[in-house]
Amino acid sequence: MKILVCISKTPDTTAKIAFTDNNTKFDSTGVQWIINPYDEWYSLVRAIELKESDASTVIQLVTVGSSETDPIIRKALALGGDEAIRVNTDSQDSFYIASQISEVAKQGGYDLIFTGKETIDYNGSSIGGMLAELLNLPYVSLATKFELSGNKAVVTREIDGGEEVCEVELPVVVSCQKGVAEQRIPNMRGIMSARAKPLKVVEPSGVNTLTAISSFELPPAKAGVKLVSPDNVEELIRLLKEEAKVI
């Protein structure tokens, strides 16, 4: 079993969201970078669990980014995984990133490719689907549970108002969310061994982007809260009905 886990770096969840260059660029001044939580908590941990139950499993991590991404990929290696590949380019639109990962995937002969449900910065939820199409593989998105059964994956995925279980033969691309695994904290041994694990840097292939960010905006501030006394709850319901008109 050979698993490819896609890792993205994102600003920390508490990072201040601000823009520079006339609102065309994210202002990364002072921003702490983290592994995208969906990649770290769910895809990566589930891959590690699969290796724990079958030691012959090989886990490779892939990320698309400049050398600034190295600390993130080392942190991922500290959690687990055998080696990492970094495609040395600033990440651009989803199509560009998915195309770079697909080149890596074509070389690797993977049985399973995991992505997170989305990144918490650009919220595209697109890399997994694009990658599957580029590789002509089936795609199961928004997994909440993942099991292997011989040459098949048994995946529970989200549907509107519930879940469904599906089976698909490997190789397959799966996007993971809550339920697939539980967050782990890297231990000292993992951190030490991560330093020795191979991190291969490959150059990007020439691909065009399909979209570009033209500008960013921040949402308008709220007008302020209208407080109602706890002894007058009926008044709140009246306001929701007559003033806000939402019930």
């Binding site: 969840t13 639109d93 199409e133 921040l218 706890p230």
Partner: protein, 320 residues
């Protein structure tokens, strides 16, 4: 040239999020001076022609039970075929579970730029620019799509549906489909409940509820308001509530008309996923809770006293 809208169904019924996609797509068609057509895959229980009143002139229907469950690869091929046939220049999805699975594949297949999580009409005055949520609702990005064909996945609850006049012509499509590889073996519907991302009203509760045994009043209030229920991350981490109720930056992002937050502090990661709600009501016993800064209405009080009173007041309002 035309605009194609993917109309998705659940158990044979057109989803509310698809109605929004239809209205949005029809408006784009109007902007571009062309017509909007829909596509439905799988067997349906709804009569499709009346959906014309939301603005689609034609609905292409591939009535094949092999398409009753989603296999994004098979769906993509069929949608691509129809899109090419009718020369669709803009293709609209809802950014829901199905849209998230199919739209990215279609984007690759048609080499069409995708904007997922769109929240507004495209600006076509200078190119084709679509506004979308980024940083989990903390900001917006205006994305310029530079390809001949454009794909937009519209966030649920981001566009208002309006019904006019008209019926759609139903075009029965008979094209062969590829073998289905993703085989659905079981469905677990939390039946009767309103899907969280489509819900107009969401009643959400946090650690302030002390334990799962106290959720009865949350569910009762939600039921009275025809609302979906949601929760904060620690509540779902502790298994007080199912994972699918977790909202926020690392859970589901929602934008209902009304979000009622009970016993939730309003941490930045929670706010990120809910701050696009039109009206936010906060019930918290701590006047300093950060959530009040993001709220429209609030009560500083004990949930265990306030929520039962809310239930009574709603019952009175609804005459039940």
């Amino acid at each position: 040239m035309s605009v194609l809208i993917f109309i998705d169904t659940a158990e044979g019924h057109v989803k509310k999020a698809s109605l929004e996609a239809i209205c949005y797509g029809a408006k784009i068609a109007e902007q571009l001076g062309t017509s909007a057509e829909g596509i439905v895959l799988g067997t349906v229980k709804d009569d499709l022609a009346p959906f014309g009143k939301f603005g689609v002139k034609k609905i292409h229907h591939l009535n094949n039970e092999l398409l009753d469950h989603l296999d994004a690869q098979v769906y993509t091929k069929v949608i691509a075929d129809i899109a090419e046939k009718i020369v669709a220049k803009v293709i609209v999805f809802s950014n829901n579970v199905d849209g998230k699975a199919i739209a990215p594949r279609l984007s690759v297949r048609l080499k069409a730029g995708l904007v997922s999580g769109a929240v507004a009409m495209p600006d076509i005055s200078n190119g084709f620019i679509v506004k979308k949520n980024v940083f989990s609702g903390k900001a917006f990005a205006n994305i310029s799509v530079n390809t001949d064909i454009k794909i937009i996945a519209l966030n649920p609850n981001a566009y208002k549906t309006t019904a006019g006049e008209g019926t759609a012509e139903i075009v029965v499509v008979n094209i062969p489909i590829d073998p289905v590889k993703v085989k659905v073996t079981g469905v677990n519907k939390t039946s009767g409940e309103v899907p969280l991302t489509e819900a107009e009203i969401v009643v959400s509760a946090g650690r302030g509820m002390k334990g799962p045994e106290n959720w009865g009043m949350i569910e009762e209030l939600a039921k009275l308001l025809h609302a979906a229920t949601a929760c904060s991350r620690p509540v779902s981490d502790a298994h007080w509530r199912p994972h699918n109720e977790h909202v926020g930056q690392t859970g589901t992002a929602i934008a209902p008309s009304l979000y009622i937050a009970i016993g939730i502090s309003g941490a930045i990661q929670h706010l990120a996923g809910v701050n696009r709600s039109k009206v936010i009501v906060v019930i918290n016993k701590d006047p300093e809770a950060p959530f009040f800064k993001a709220a429209d209405y609030g009560i500083v009080g004990d949930a265990f006293e306030v929520v039962p009173k809310m239930i009574e007041a709603v019952k009175k309002l609804k005459g039940v």
